[in-house]
């Protein structure tokens, strides 16, 4: 298919339809409203279910009911709305339901602001709601990648029967870029959802989809079953991209999403000035590419690992855990919708090259 110019939020919506998901529930919140508006128009055309719920609490639970049919379903929201969905996300994880949740992040905490941020990293990657569970978390850095990951996400949700979360900052939702949708969408075959879905107890025993296990042994079993799924994700789903990683680099940048893309621009410009810096960009934030980051960080030429985020050093904790003190892990970031420019990133990199033992000052 030819490339078309699309806004990120609309491209995400169309990608879901192209991946065979025609069921969508939502509640309005900036900066992701275009998804719901696009779906309200498009889903009747393709015979899907569109519903604007009364709250994100209700929408999350509508997803629970909808996913129980075995059909594909997703929602989009932004940070405060995602907080309200945590109840249902915990229940869906506990009940092994495949759903896709997109968080077009805005700054927080609280009502925060409406500009791009990456401040929901902890919420997305550490479970978010109560109980022993994780989400499979994907972080696109371009609109094309948002489309590709969106189309992949439904398969991953079904492969693991676990909620998948795509986190993009407001930039991913609001920016327009050329995107290309595949002519044909193909996925590896999985066992039929009819094996577990609620379809009516005709010719079989009644089924219950639940996360309640009052018998502690059964609850323990369920929690370790979840744990085993996450271990399998770690073996099979780690995704990342390396950019200009070379033996002469002294700094390894770790950054994701839009922030990583800005870092790429800064790295390209520095390269022209004869300064070589490499970037490690995690695409899966859970499972986190810890081993791969450690391998790069431990290379002899690396003096500093520099984590750059639009948050107050949330992913940095995972990088710290990956590197385990083998190299200093420095941080630079802005929050609240202040998106660092390539020049600002370059400035921080040059400071670190000149004074490798200094901490970076944020302001």
């Amino acid at each position: 298919m030819a490339k078309i110019l699309m806004k990120g939020n609309e491209a995400i919506a169309e990608a879901a339809i192209k991946a065979g998901c025609v069921n969508y529930f939502c509640y309005p919140i900036t900066p992701q409203n275009e998804v719901g508006e696009y779906m309200a128009r498009r889903l009747p055309e393709v015979g899907g279910a569109f519903l604007q719920g009364e709250s994100e609490v209700a929408v999350g639970n509508m997803l629970f009911g909808a996913a129980s049919t075995g059909q594909r379903v997703f929602t989009t929201s932004s940070s405060p709305g995602i907080s309200l969905m945590q109840e249902s996300i915990s229940y869906m994880a506990g009940a092994h339901l495949p759903v896709v949740i997109v968080n077009i992040m805005r700054g927080g905490p609280g009502l925060g602001g409406i500009l791009p941020a990456q401040s929901d990293y902890f919420q997305a990657t550490k479970g978010g709601g109560h109980g022993d569970y994780r989400l499979l978390v994907l972080a696109p850095s371009t609109i094309q990648e948002a489309v590709d990951l969106m189309m992949l996400s439904f398969h991953l949700a079904e492969k693991y029967r676990n909620p998948v979360m795509i986190i993009g900052d407001g930039m991913i939702g609001q920016m327009m870029e050329p995107v290309e949708f595949p002519e044909h969408h193909e996925e590896p075959e999985l066992p039929s959802n009819d094996l577990w879905a609620i379809t009516g107890a005709k010719g079989r025993e009644p089924r219950v989809i639940k996360s309640l296990f009052l018998d502690p042994k059964l609850l323990d079993d369920n929690s370790w079953n979840l744990y085993d799924k996450y271990a399998r994700m770690e073996r099979e789903e780690i995704r990342f991209e390396s950019y200009r990683i070379k033996p002469k680099n002294k700094i390894l940048i770790v950054s994701y999403g839009t922030m990583a893309r800005i870092c790429q621009t800064a790295i390209d410009e520095l390269e022209k000035d004869g300064v070589s810096v490499g970037l490690f960009r995690p695409i899966t934030l859970f499972p986190f590419p810890s081993k791969q980051i450690a391998k790069e960080a431990k290379k002899k030429n690396i003096e500093n690992v520099l984590v750059i985020e639009m948050s107050t050093a949330q992913m940095k904790e995972d990088v710290d855990l990956a590197v385990l003190g083998a190299k200093p892990v420095k941080f630079y970031g802005e929050t609240g919708g202040l998106v660092p420019s390539p020049d600002a990133v370059k400035e921080q990199i040059m400071k670190l090259i000149k004074n490798p033992n200094d901490e970076l000052k944020r302001r």
Partner: protein, 258 residues
Amino acid sequence: MNEDARTLFSRPESLNEVVTHYCPGCTHGVIHRLVAEVLDELGVRENTVGVAPVGCSVFIYKYLGTDFLEAPHGRAPALATGFKRLRPDMMVFTYQGDGDLASIGMGEIVHAANRGEKITTIFVNNAVYGMTGGQMAPTTMPGQVTTTSPGGRNVNDTGYPIRVAELLSALVTPNYIERVAVHTPQHIIKAKQAIRKAFTYQKEGRCFSLVEVLSTCPTNWGKTTEESLDWVESRMVPYFPLGCYKDPETAEVPDGAV
């Protein structure tokens, strides 16, 4: 066997042959049976999904022979909405208590009713939180002693009990809303008729339907079974009048279009 021998009473197919966890004198069992009878009579057991609440009836999935979803507290109507929108060909019902539906889940039930979701809700009102040990509910009667209203419900402090059937029937969307009770055989027969009508309307794809059932909780009311049945009649029925509050057959719908 005598040719004239006929089975006049038996366990409904939709009611599992298991011992329930309900306390002696609790009327959940009666209401479960009525739902099971109606599912049998309409022949829909194999095409039905129930949504269980949080509360005493959380284990309803052990007692009825249909598929079930177990919802977070109060969210059964949202789960039911999500399911029914994708599977309008299936029967979907929620079974919820007063804490679940009228307190934490008030938003979900009001909006499901207002959208006219083609689902059925069995709302069991026994004026108390049962499973958690007898705390005050939104439907607790004025002066009623509970573990969190030890001096009796003070309406100046906590307001009056919420009349759910009346509240929902104020919505413009044509729905079927009826309040029944199960404290006497006559009331049980009427309750069965209402539940049957509610499921029938859903089967016909007509409207949202809710049957509020006044029920007992001898354990948390601190009463015997007989005293509890009397208390429904003497205390609850005067405040929660029985009858049909809304029916799509008679609903007048203003145009309101812009």
